[in-house]
Symmetry: C2
Subunit: 360 residues, 2 copies
DNA sequence: ATGAAAGCGCTAACAT
DNA sequence: ATGTTAGCGCTTTCAT
């Protein structure tokens, strides 16, 4: 076994309490005792065991993170933002993936709760009605949603989320296409039941179309990265009369896949058809043409989520030395539903519709 | 406080030992007692506390992961592979980032060791001489390197690593360019002191050039994603006579940035200059032209690394019920230096050199 | 099959 | 300023 506080105490000829004190508030130990202890620590290569500390303290200074996948850059960036902020605040990160399977969400959270994480950051398939979130709430574990955007009203307004305004952002994107002269705009989306964001973005599409007096089309839902399997998509693209002049995709990976498939069909982007994405993944800006997209600040989403979570955690366990004149034991809840600004990235993948269409 | 094994025992009218037994080997508890306990567990919503278990058992069934960044898809995919495999083997993952700063490596590992992870998977700046790895070894914590490729001989051959053969892979890539008729090939690389892989890939470049009797050029080292700052690069590209006909980049993000910059300079890829990457990030295959690259199986690297690590962990703490006739207490070390196969992805970013050059 | 009790490493009263 | 001690949740002898 590795050296414990006990061996250190023994070697330094003091009690374990003194060693513990030195580790926690060094001020309360005399200089020469501290000196002796430090030497023993160095000699033994002692490293405090968080497990012991956590068991005793009842908290772990660890947060759990649950995301659908790391294959999508968006979540990787978010996790990056979480980790950076966590390190700055002296928290550790334990993380899991769900592969977009709702049933994995609860298993993932169960595991994290077993480790006694102090809080959880997650992106779920559907935040609207979600047994996992209910569990977290019942167990009084602070949690913050990322990308999931909670409703403004309803029974869950007290929950925390960090996202862009998906509906408004999608509306902006589609309005941009309309402004360019597009009339026939098709939305391509990931499965709605795996992503409530996708649904919100479709509503944004509807908003923009209706505001312009255009006839919205039903969204085409596709499995991720496999457009070729969507036969309605294939048919639509094959017929020049039926074909939309612009595609609005619910995420950038989908947009990129769509562009690849369009090329395979012999179609030019944006010459024959424009493509707009959503997410604003960094590589999109390196390509030619640049992928037009709605840029979400993914790393910031992670950063804000972590800070919000830590705030909630430390509010739940009020800081010890708070003085008797502490203002309010149940201080007012800070803002919970964080809506971060999105930016429309214009890019060469979008242009006015081909002449034949703009005349019609 | 959350319900503990104690409350469960009390409610079920048994001792805590019996509850513990039911949780660990259910066979040793009578059916009716089990029934009672299960009811109590359900009623209280009891969930075993890993902290207590870990403290007692001296292991955590948790592995630590240290990667430079998650902004590079390569590491995100690797982490994805690690997490998947970990979940399959019932391990949890705690992870940290170093931002490519060698000094962060030791801090990250210190933190993980504080949490008493059972082992560590890491990608370091330089695996050749690395204080953090020495520490891990001194503390007898199993670890596996990813992407870092250990030397075949030397003082560290007993260490474990999972990677492609960087030098051979780079050589293949450059040989491919040479086969296409390129003579003047420039390597663009991330900082060697932040990535020993980059250095190994440069050696591969040298191998290929020398094998073809061509004059190798010194590599141009650039900060990640900011080619514009490299003045020697700018100068070289501006002069049509000095300009190479092909660029070999030590990673795909660099290759993509380079292509963007070349476009800004008015150069065509591959018309004026070919660009070859390294990593084989998935988006590279979605672009037009497709980014030619050396594909590393990043997710598999993570998968293999985790399985190798777990093997080492469970070898260190030999399984309890092993029987007295256990073959060898110190069984022979399995293969440690995993070299996974790479694949050369041909793509439109690479073509024969422009006519003027191929004549020379 | 079950219980009693010790102890993993640590912190926080409570003494002194 | 320092020591003594109880106990966080759990597993595991050792009895019964």
């Amino acid at each position: 076994m590795r050296p414990s506080i006990k061996q250190v105490a023994h070697l330094a000829g003091v009690s374990i309490a003194t060693v513990s004190r030195l580790l926690n508030k060094p001020g309360s130990v005399s200089a020469e005792t501290a000196e002796k202890i430090h030497r023993s620590i160095a000699e033994l290569g002692f490293r405090p065991n968080f497990t012991g500390r956590n068991l005793r303290a009842g908290n772990s200074r660890t947060v759990g993170v649950v995301v659908p996948t790391l294959s999508n850059t968006v979540f990787a960036q978010c996790l990056q933002g979480i980790e950076l902020a966590a390190r700055a605040l002296d928290y550790s990160v334990m993380f899991t993936t769900t592969e977009y399977l709702p049933e994995e969400e609860s298993a993932a959270v169960e595991l994290l709760l077993g480790h006694r994480v102090d809080g959880v950051i997650l992106t779920v398939a559907d935040a609207g009605s979600n047994a996992t979130l209910d569990l977290l709430e019942r167990e009084r574990i602070p949690f913050v949603l990322t990308y999931n955007q909670l409703a403004t009203s309803g029974p869950t307004t007290h929950r925390a989320s960090v996202s862009v305004d998906n509906r408004a952002a999608a509306c902006d994107a589609v309005a941009h296409l309309i402004g360019l002269g597009h009339r026939r705009i098709q939305m391509l989306s990931g499965r709605f039941n795996a992503s409530d964001r996708a649904m919100q973005r479709y509503y944004g599409y509807l908003d923009a179309m209706q505001a312009a007096g255009l006839a919205p089309l039903p969204a085409i839902e596709v499995e991720r990265h496999t457009l070729t399997a969507a036969t309605d998509y294939q048919q639509m693209m094959a017929d020049p009369l039926q074909r939309p002049t612009a595609l609005f995709c619910s995420n950038d990976l989908l947009a990129l896949s769509a562009m690849r498939d369009l090329r395979a069909l012999g179609l030019q982007v944006p010459g024959d058809i424009s493509v707009m994405g959503f997410d604003g993944i960094p590589v999109g800006a390196l390509m030619a043409p640049v992928l037009a997209s709605v840029v979400q600040p993914s790393e910031r989403i992670g950063d804000v989520a972590l800070r919000t979570l830590v705030e909630a955690i430390e509010r739940a366990v009020p800081a010890a030395a708070d003085g008797p004149s502490s203002q309010s034991p149940q201080s007012a809840q800070p803002a919970l539903r964080h809506i971060l600004p999105h930016v429309l990235r214009e890019g060469g993948s979008v242009a006015p519709p081909p002449a034949a269409h703009s005349l019609s």
